[in-house]
Symmetry: C6
Subunit: 276 residues, 6 copies
């Protein structure tokens, strides 16, 4: 249960290479656009709701472009130091440990900052010099400036539905990225995905997708956000495991997305109507 520091820091970047092709079905020409941006060293911003496939898309692109993918889940306490690296005390000396961003720059990996608006301002600022034509990362604590190789690229994502005045990307950051919109997959495609991942039959997948679409319409009636494809798959898995379909839908779709009892009841009615 005790890990040696020296061992841990030798983790090869190959760990971040995605070896098996992820299951991803393109919705539009997002693959071509990302590829064009990548070739022109343009950073990319993925905008879209929870569970609309942004993370899976990044895994797919990393696989296609044969680059390691280093993902950072951003949060309020993520500091610039966390991204760039820090000194660690090691026995009698002090050794430098690369943060994920520095590791990506050194290895020509794709660095993906998920939910970037959650991060503190200093995290955002630290990526600025990497996203203009300089493509450098100054590491103040080391006193060095690294030049990113051409195969390094930077992608960020956020959910525009969440943003408030407090948590917003500054224009000086936004205008450094081309932006690709993401949304839930169209019904036919979503049906295929649900059936593939949960192993329910096509008819059941069709019903689950129909429920999902009806729930998403509630977004204009007080529901904070629609139900994600992931939750449709959860419902399918519970059904496939033998749970009664309407109960499975309540547990995997109605209860997770809201605590409001009126909304829950409306969703339950949808479920009962479709899963007659």
């Amino acid at each position: 249960m005790t890990a040696q520091c020296s061992l841990s820091r030798e983790l090869p970047v190959e760990e971040y290479i995605i070896e098996d092709e992820p299951y991803y079905v393109p919705v539009g020409n997002e693959v071509e656009i990302f590829t064009a941006a990548y070739k022109n060293l343009l950073p990319v911003n993925l905008k879209g709701p929870t569970g609309s496939g942004k993370t899976r898309f990044m895994e797919y692109m990393a696989y296609k472009l044969k680059r390691p993918l280093i993902t950072v889940a951003c949060h309020e306490d993520l500091t610039a130091t966390d991204l760039v690296g820090r000194y660690l005390i090691k026995g009698e000396s002090v050794e430098w440990s690369d943060g994920p961003l520095t590791k990506a720059v050194k290895n020509g990996a794709i660095c993906y900052l998920d939910e970037v608006v959650e991060a503190r301002k200093d995290t955002i600022v630290v990526i600025h010099p990497l996203t203009d034509d300089r493509r450098i990362i100054p590491i103040d604590k080391l006193g060095v400036i690294l030049q990113a190789p051409p195969d390094f690229s930077l992608a960020i994502s956020y959910n525009p539905g969440y943003q408030s005045a407090v948590k917003d990307l500054k224009q000086s950051t936004r205008q450094r990225f081309v932006a690709i919109d993401f949304d839930y997959p169209p019904p036919e495609l979503e049906r295929k995905i649900v059936a593939h991942e949960s192993m329910v039959n096509g008819e059941m997948a069709k019903d689950l997708v129909k429920i999902g679409q009806r729930i998403r319409n509630f977004r204009h009636h007080g529901l904070e956000e629609g139900v994600s494809t992931r939750l449709l798959i959860y419902a399918g898995k519970l059904i496939h495991e033998g749970i009664e379909p309407r109960e499975a839908c309540r547990i995997a779709m109605a209860r997770p997305i809201t605590d409001n009892s009126d909304l829950q009841q409306s969703i339950d009615e949808i479920i009962n109507a479709i899963m007659e």
Copy 2:
């Protein structure tokens, strides 16, 4: 009174195994649902008021599934580092110490984050990669990524009655869990539980449950939350010890749940009416 560091970190995971079957009486099919979710690697969210049996249910499921249960009581100062692990200075070198989440992943345990909305945002984010199909936990400080074994599972709980805009689960977190509702047990069952645990006779248990139900109705009249089964048992224990029943009810049921003297008086009247 001095514990050796080296000793302390050798604590075997078997410490977390629940050896005796906990006393738990299912209310609905929550046991089947949790089992189905567990088999399909779906994380579970238990929603319900204080004292409705969520923690006991987790102990019961851990016993049934024969997995260690590692419980974390979440609070405002719980950091991602607390969950994942940290380096500790040990004599002349520095050693890594697993946090409870990492320990659960390594040992295929069930990790239960109690009152998860109390935790800081970075705690929540750290569980994201464990709750999608990747089922990984990146440990930045070690520079390693752990893959969770199939017998690892993650459960969270919270009380939907408490939530404010400030303390709410983000949709990007909620939509990673199937959600099971919990509530106070139905009267017949609660009577059985109170009698079993406090050793009062059936008639007294019946009266205590009747008082509890009447108090819970006050939730729509200014009472923040109903009285839990636990407090009914407390009253029963004091009565069994020889304290006068009406006083026992005041001390174990009226005084703990509110400081409002009007509400206390109304509750006292209920107590006097039933415990004539």
Copy 3:
């Protein structure tokens, strides 16, 4: 003036044993209730105003039950770590130092958290597993879980008159304690206490108590809180030392409890009327 670390941490728990019977006169059956709760392993919550004898009662019960009493004065900066324990650097190695709560659990002492609502949320949460049927304290930093022995017990106190929305006990905490109300002692008893502790004669004690009662009535007229028995004793001591009685009352009773000059004047008039 230099204390050795090793010496300091050897402080035996016997230091916390109360050897002489504290002067405490029961008002109601609080002694029987506390004893019944103690025997049934129920945690106790003492609710009442400043100076109503909660701390003295705890000392009395600890003496009666022959257990060490470890008192913690809660405040905003009290952390879970302060309660549970921490590592201290000691020469070339690092040693663990028990916090007061851990020390109480290990030694079967009574741990008393005074003014618990002042503490931070993480302090409150850390006592949860000690207050249900598990009766355990997980010490994350050591990686151990301690089981409390039957003679360990936990008591908390707070002043319900102070509580605001910000500083309130959560229901999930409140419902873990039976609650005993405390108030100022009845006149006859308070007279006895004041005479005993300040050594003034019975007539003077009677006048002091009469003033105290009149001042307490102002609580409905802008006075934040009534005058405590302790301040009546202060006044008595100054009088016994030779200070003119009306001046002693002003200095020990009127000036300490309010800065409002109108209220001070009203209190001075009461003093002058009774101490004619």
Copy 4:
């Protein structure tokens, strides 16, 4: 310019003994009251405006009672640790360093917390066990409880004119102290003090005091606080040094106490009228 740690911590408490009688002229019977409180082990609270002589009074009492006086100027960042003490790294080992409160307890000194409402809540709480009949100070970090000797005493001060809801002494703290009111000295006495300390003649001192009294009347007309005796002395000193009297008054009395130009002009008129 380099101080050795070991040397510094050897500072004998005699440093805190006041050897020469401070110049203090009693206004009322505050000396008798403080002495009576001291003999009865009652903590004392000095309430009054800036520059009304509270600090000088404490020096005088310490001299009279022949005890060392350890003064702590409270501020927002003063922690309980600052008061009680901390461990300091010293070469290869760690040594304990007493804070001012602990030093006062150990040596039977008078500890004076000036402007106590400025301190953080944990500072206030740490003095509670020293101010009831226990008279102890628990030093958690050392794991020891010190019993204060009879010659130890505790005094606090604050300015009631400043207090807001945010910065106020809690009743549970206030009711542990007898309280002595302080105000500016009466004219005859203040004249004597100004002449003594600034070496101006009696006529000039009389005028300065007259100006001071007139300015203090403005407290009901927008002036935050009256002019202190100290500033009257400052004006006297500048005059004695040869600065033109009206200019000296403007610089030492009008400009320091307000930035409001209307008030400054009114004060200037007072000065010109009296210093014709």
Copy 5:
């Protein structure tokens, strides 16, 4: 992956010299003004929107003046210590490491604080003594005062459109800098820049600039900030790579600058109208 501390701190200042002339086309006489200010040791403040060429201008001036350029991207967590320098533990001793500002002073470089209003107040204050006739930087932690050589200069930038009451330069800071206004380049010049950098033909560059100008007009209709020249170049690069022009404009110009769907639609209409 492990960098030696000693190596890292030897980074020669030559690293900061710009060897190739940056592509910069002057809009007015900003080059002459900056040169005059530089010769007279006057600090310079560049005011203007995102992407109006401030950073490129600084690179150009540094190249022209043959001085190293040390750029600091300011953010909320940037401390005075980050700018000035700090001690780092190195093996058994402690070594000083210059911050970027100190490094610039020592080497007669140009120090450029980008988006200076984002920095904390202590960062701003630390540059004050460098921006008056003293031209010194006191390094408290070293106990030294450095005198800046004549070839050192200091420049700051900010976007006046962003400033709120909270984030504003204090007058005591503002009045230490001459200020040069920046704005988007005039159409003919922007066309030349877009064609040069994205390699699209002149006709396409003309259309892109036309779209940019139309979008900038929306600044008075709810758009936070206009589209930068950089985004026009992004669109050009995607077009040059083969992406359909209208889609390229949507992805590089409409989606990055706003999340408002009404504004996005208006911008899409502009794009469709011009890229018919």
Copy 6:
């Protein structure tokens, strides 16, 4: 680029001695007043707007009084520890490093706290014992009390125009200082200063001063603060360097002091009218 700790702390106080007479032209009798205060050990408070010569005056007085001048630019993060001193780890031991205030006390220097209202409350409080008749500085961390020698003196400054309720000097601090008002120099004197420092001829200096006076009148029309003499000198220097006078005025006077385009236009009109 590596400074040795031991070397750095040997910096002799002579570094702080001002060897050449600073260029300062007295406006009133501020030199006599400061001298009288210095001789009587009275602390001095300089009140006035940005750029009204406070800092230069302090340099002049330090030169005249032949004392070292230790200036501290106050800011929000300046702690008492920064002023007083701290322990630094040095190889195997820990050494004390004097802060600027302690250094000034030890060497009988003048300590000047510039913009003192910016500092945190604990910074202010730390100077209290130095500013009454005790003239001591207790250094808690060393456990010593230093007595200031007669040639030590303390001065503070602030801009009364800035002060809000949040950032204000408390009366208990204000009333420890005599206060000298500062304002822009009268026209004839300012003309002389501008000509002397920027090397423009008398006619041009006259025009610059005229513009400055007109701009200062805008302070009652929305301008936060008038233009400082420093900015007039900046304009003069740019003109002397060959920049067109009206442009020099815009860049050195209009643009630095406001971002409001209406105010900028009004100021431009003043410039154009006077620099016809």
